[in-house]
């Protein structure tokens, strides 16, 4: 049985602006995960590691390139690398543009790295294992699937493609039609560009997104994966978790049972030190409820690697009957509610915050300190 590893979208060297100081740890973890993949490849005895684009987050890589090249070189594994997306050198990812990281001279010293640099596509043939690897760098608006003549001596035809399955209109950056997969005649297409695992096999062609091996943002289930491809007449795909961090988002709705929701945080997230949690609070809550919840969560959330607490969707709970007509507070609530009703989406947050602070100050639930910027930010 012949084995391959398929990964994509590592985005090594990415900046994580929402994580502040912890971004550095995440970058180090990305490299650790890459090392883990190499070890996995060695353990499984793979004959090639397929990287379907976005190995680097950008073409500005600094010394990171030396590190990655050393890892590749020393691994002894064959790496088939497809450049990634992006039209401009520094603002895109690791696209094959003038100044691309893949044009560096230093690659010449790494004989086990095979980079698809021919704009019309090219084939690398592993004669020992009778596998032909096909790839073409991405071009905006064009399908990245190579239409190349199949290698005559190859038993297996494996393609790498960096693009989007164009089942929705907006996926038009590097669109891949499902019929294209079916017609391609490849045994396996290693897809990249989307950061989550997905099976898009059609007809006799198996096609998978491996997703990022180290998850980069919320929206992915579980940890990042590498795909172990087994060729034994048939093509078998086995996803293997290699990433460290979970990215999770969790919602606490004040209109539901808060106690249960809080209790669930403890139950759902088994590995808080390796979890990055986006905790969204929503529903309507008054000051007491919000503060009480925040106090309760403080202890629970401290064990997480990072928590982004987002209470922007919490609407101030207002019981208008509490405030008799003819009082400022009732008049104020009336004015603000009218404004909120007709406000543009971008103004809503300001109006709601204004309403919340106004009620807080008028009812004595907020004091002078709470509208002092330094305290507010704290």
């Amino acid at each position: 049985m012949i084995k391959l590893l398929h990964i994509s979208d590592l985005h090594l060297g990415k900046s994580f602006t929402s994580l502040g100081e912890k971004g550095k740890i995440l970058r180090e973890t990305q490299l650790d995960t890459f090392k883990k993949i190499i070890e996995l490849g060695k353990k499984e005895g793979v004959v090639g590691v397929l990287i379907a684009g976005d190995l680097f987050d950008s073409n500005s890589v600094g010394r990171l390139l030396d590190v990655v090249q050393n890892l590749i070189k020393e691994s002894g594994l064959k790496f088939y690398i497809l450049p990634g997306a992006g039209e401009k050198g520094i603002s895109g990812h690791d696209a094959l543009v003038p100044g691309s990281v893949y044009y560096r001279e230093s690659w010449k010293d790494i004989p086990n790295a095979f980079i698809f640099k021919n704009e019309d596509g090219e084939v690398f043939f592993d004669s020992e294992n009778s596998i032909a690897f096909y790839g073409r760098p991405t071009r905006y608006g064009e399908s990245p699937i190579s239409v190349l003549e199949k290698h005559r001596d190859a038993k297996y035809h494996i393609a790498l493609a960096h693009g989007s399955i164009a089942f929705r209109e907006e996926f038009k950056d590097y669109p891949i039609k499902e019929a294209e997969i079916e017609r391609s005649g490849y045994d396996y297409i290693a897809l990249g560009h989307w950061h989550t695992f997905g099976d898009y096999s059609r007809g006799r062609t198996k096609a998978y997104y491996s997703g990022s091996p180290e998850i980069l943002e919320s929206g992915s289930e579980g940890k990042g994966k590498a795909l172990l491809i087994k060729l034994d007449g048939e093509v078998d795909v086995e996803p293997i978790e290699v990433g460290r961090f979970f990215w999770a988002s969790y919602e606490v709705d004040f209109s539901n049972d808060i106690d249960k929701a809080v209790e669930n945080i403890n139950k759902i997230f088994k590995d808080p030190p390796n979890t990055i949690l986006i905790l969204r609070l929503k529903g309507a809550a008054d000051f007491h409820m919000l503060n009480e919840l925040k106090t309760r969560l403080k202890g629970i959330l401290s064990s997480f690697f990072h928590v982004n607490l987002d209470d922007r969707s919490v609407k101030p709970e207002i019981d208008i009957s509490q405030y008799p007509e003819g009082t400022v507070i009732s008049q104020f609530i009336k004015i603000m509610n009218e404004k909120i009703k007709t406000a543009r989406e971008e103004d809503l947050i300001i109006l709601r915050e204004s309403l919340r602070i106004g009620i807080g100050l008028l009812t004595g639930n907020l004091d002078e300190k709470s509208i002092s910027l330094e305290d507010y930010l704290r």
Partner: protein
């Protein structure tokens, strides 16, 4: 809300046993002074608001009693009872009923706040209690405070003014730019963000510069590699050319020398030929001249011979040729005249006999000779049947000629006789014929005449021949003829020998031309010799060959691609030399470029040793992200505060207007009813100069109610009207109980009645009115259904 019941233990001067049940919406608590009316009022306030402090004995404990007080206040809300207990004995607070069972004071207070709309005793006192001692003067500041309280919503928060002052300190006049106290913080954040962005941009620039330098470095490196390779190849080509050019030159010289030599050879041969031709021509000319002479002689001799010939020919012409006759006559007997005559006779006889025979023969029965033809003198005819019968012909005969006739035995005798004569004649004739060998007489005559002719000719010839024989003359003539022919031939051959040469002059001209050409060719040959010498110079052809071979050996050692060789081989030596020169220049330029690129590379290598920190860039990006979030939050807060200020102001103004109108309307109504229609308008203003104005019915003029004072009674009625209005407006739908501590003492009967009517109306609307009084005349005016508790 109604106050349903009040039970107290050890509370001021109230008796422990007593429990006050308030069963109506209009309750009058009547009792003399110090009976405990004010204590009841106080106990109600304590019941609502006074949290039990177990470490303190409250000052409302009944004097002289050991035990601490207990106040139990029962409220009826929507027909359900809630009991509030302030138990100083067990140190606890309770709230029970309607599904509520609370002991936590915070929660109790929260609940009470929910019921009342406020949770402090002062508001309770200010809003819900009207005391007789407060009514002497209208406290405009107090009213102001009340209104302010109303404007803030009557809860524990800050007043609008306080909030607005606070916001003012937070926000500048130019709110959007946030230049207030917090604006400074915001500015600081912005500045920090700008600084971070500047730092990020700087780092990016540095990285971009480094990237571009690195790219430059790689480009230079590539260029150097290319240049070094191409200089190597150019040097190789140059080296190759350095051998190829002399090789080609030697080869070309050898070829040129050989060509010259070949041309020389051709020239030499040509010269030789031309010389031969000149010589030939000279000889030919000489011969021509001889031919010419000879021809002339021959022509003369020919002339001479032809004359002789002519003479002989004339002789021969004249001499009859008797050779024919001779040959005719040869071996033939010449008849005599008589022979001829004899023969003629015989012929005639024969003819006659034949004719006779013929005629006789015709009568012969020749029946048997059916097949015999008969004829004479060439004429034949078939025998008629009768003729055949006459002839005794045993044998069938095919033909029978007249000559045969003689031999035929013809029965007829006559014919036989005639035939015998004829046969004799014919024998004679046959004799002559056989003798002379002729058949006709003409032949015989001809022979005779020929003999005569020969004899005549012989005579004449002898005369002409002058002793010579004809043979001799003929021989002479033949020889002459042959001589003439010879001379003619000689002449012709001479003429032929002269060929196409039209004339000797032409021939001579041609000869001269040939000589001239010969001389030119010799000159050419000389020139070629010089050229060859020049070509060879110091070298010999062997030298050139040696050079060629040695350069060829060199060329074999230089590895230049076939394509390049092919391209170069197609060039001329001049072009090759130009190429060689161009290559030298190119190599020189390349050397310069390589040198310059090497220097640049070294410089870039040094520069690239310092690589800007990508990590720092990433960290800065992350800091920016964080700062952006802070900025956004700050922006939202400051913007929200600005929105709050603006809207709170307008809410406050709108509330103020609303309250103002309602206070004025309600106060006017109450004052109108209390004064029995004397006054119909009251203006309660926040303007301190003239805070309250009143207008009498029918008048257009408002007067200052405070400074141009009304009567005491009217002032108290005005105050009462204002308090009622404020209470009504503030408590709104809550219908809170109103506690009145003997407020009508100074009212005249009519106006007191008016006041009772108002309370009666309020109680009918659901406002519980608890009127405390020590004056029995009050009791006289009470409406039906009013509960009176006497204490």
């Amino acid at each position: 809300m109604k106050i349903k019941r009040l039970k107290t233990i050890n509370f001021r001067n109230l008796k422990n046993k007593d429990a006050y049940e308030f069963n109506s919406n209009f309750v009058v608590i009547y009792g003399p002074n110090e009976a405990g009316k004010t204590s009841i009022l106080e106990a109600i306030v304590v019941g609502f608001f006074e949290k039990v402090d177990r470490h303190r004995t409250p000052d409302f404990k009944t004097w002289g009693k050991e035990d601490k007080p207990v106040i139990e206040l029962t409220l009826e809300i929507d027909e359900k009872n809630i009991v509030i207990e302030r138990n100083y004995q067990d140190g606890r607070n309770y709230m029970k009923g309607d599904g509520v069972d609370l002991q936590n004071e915070k929660k109790i207070r929260k609940r009470i706040e929910g019921l009342l709309g406020f949770n402090d005793p002062d508001t309770f006192r200010n809003l819900l209690t009207i005391k007789q001692n407060e009514m002497a003067n209208i406290d405009t500041d107090g009213i102001q405070r009340e209104i302010d309280t109303m404007v803030t919503g009557g809860v524990e928060g800050l007043s609008v003014m306080e909030i607005l002052n606070l916001l003012d300190s937070k926000l500048s006049k130019e709110r959007d730019r946030f230049k207030g106290e917090d604006g400074k913080v915001y500015d600081k954040i912005c500045r920090e963000l700008d600084a971070l962005k500047e730092k990020r941009d700087g780092l990016k620039r540095d990285i971009e510069i480094t990237e571009s330098k690195r790219q430059q470095f790689e480009e230079i490196n590539n260029a150097l590699e290319v240049d070094e390779k191409s200089i190597e190849s150019l040097q190789l080509i140059t080296k190759w050319l350095d051998s190829f050019i002399p090789y080609r030159e030697a080869g070309e010289k050898i070829d040129a020398v050989r060509d010259i030599e070949a041309r020389m050879k051709v020239l030499e041969e040509d010269i030789k030929d031309t010389e031969g031709s000149v010589k030939d021509r000279e000889e030919r000319l000489k011969r021509y001249r001889g031919f010419k002479e000879k021809k002339k002689t021959l022509e003369e001799k020919e002339k001479e011979l032809r004359a002789t010939q002519k003479r002989y020919e004339e002789i021969i012409e004249k001499i009859k040729d008797i050779s024919g006759i001779d040959s005719f006559l040869r071996n033939k007997e010449i008849p005599s005249k008589g022979d001829i005559e004899r023969f003629k006779q015989l012929i005639t006889q024969n003819k006659q006999m034949e004719s006779t025979l013929e005629s006789q023969a015709v009568s012969i029965d020749l029946e048997a000779l059916s097949d015999i033809e008969i004829g004479f003198s060439g004429t034949t005819r078939r025998l008629s049947s009768s003729e055949r019968q006459q002839l005794d012909i045993k044998e069938p005969l095919k033909k029978i000629s007249i000559r045969d006739v003689a031999n035929i035995t013809i029965k007829n005798n006559g014919i036989l006789i005639a035939s015998e004569n004829l046969n004799k004649c014919r024998e004679q004739m046959k004799e002559i014929v056989e003798r002379f060998g002729i058949s006709t007489v003409d032949e015989l005559e001809q022979r005779y005449e020929k003999k005569l002719e020969r004899d005549q000719a012989s005579k004449e010839r002898d005369k002409l021949l002058e002793g010579k024989t004809v043979e001799e003359i003929k021989n002479t003539l033949d020889s002459l003829h042959s001589d003439v022919e010879n001379i003619k031939r000689d002449t012709e051959s001479s003429a032929e020998a002269l060929g196409d040469v039209k004339s000797l002059e032409v021939e001579e001209f041609v000869l001269e031309e040939d000589k001239k050409r010969l001389s030119d060719k010799k000159k050419d040959l000389e020139e070629l010799k010089i050229k060859k010498a020049k070509l060879l110079g110091q070298d010999t052809e062997e030298d050139l060959k040696r050079t060629k071979i040695s350069q060829e050996l060199n060329l074999a050692k230089i590895e230049v691609s076939d394509n390049e060789k092919d391209a170069l081989m197609g060039l001329s030596i001049a072009d090759l030399k130009k190429k060689r020169e161009a290559l030298s220049k190119e190599i020189e330029n390349l050397m310069k470029r390589i040198q310059s690129n090497r220097e640049k590379r070294v410089a870039l290598e040094i520069e690239l040793k310092h690589i800007p920190s990508y990590e720092e860039l990433l960290k800065t990006e992350e800091d920016i992200g964080e700062k952006e979030e802070i900025k956004e939050k700050s922006y939202i807060l400051l913007k929200a505060l600005a929105v709050l200020e603006e809207n709170l102001k307008s809410a406050s103004e709108m509330t103020r207007d609303f309250i103002q109108t309602r206070i004025n309307d309600l106060t006017s109504k109450y004052f109108h009813d209390l004064t029995r229609g004397k006054y119909d308008k009251v203006l309660v203003s926040m303007d301190n100069e003239v805070p309250i104005k009143v207008k009498e019915a029918g008048s257009q003029e408002f007067r200052d109610a405070v400074n141009r004072s009304l009567s005491t009674g009217a002032m108290q009625q005005l105050y009462f009207a204002i308090r009622l209005a404020l209470m009504g407006i503030l408590t709104g739908d809550k219908r809170l109980p109103l506690l009145l501590d003997d407020p009508f003492v100074d009212f005249d009967i009519e106006r007191r009645k008016g006041a009772i009517e108002i309370l009666s109306r309020l109680s009918a609307l659901g406002y519980q009115c608890l009127l405390f009084t020590c004056h029995d005349f009050i009791l006289q005016d009470l409406p039906e259904g009013c509960q009176v508790i006497k204490i």
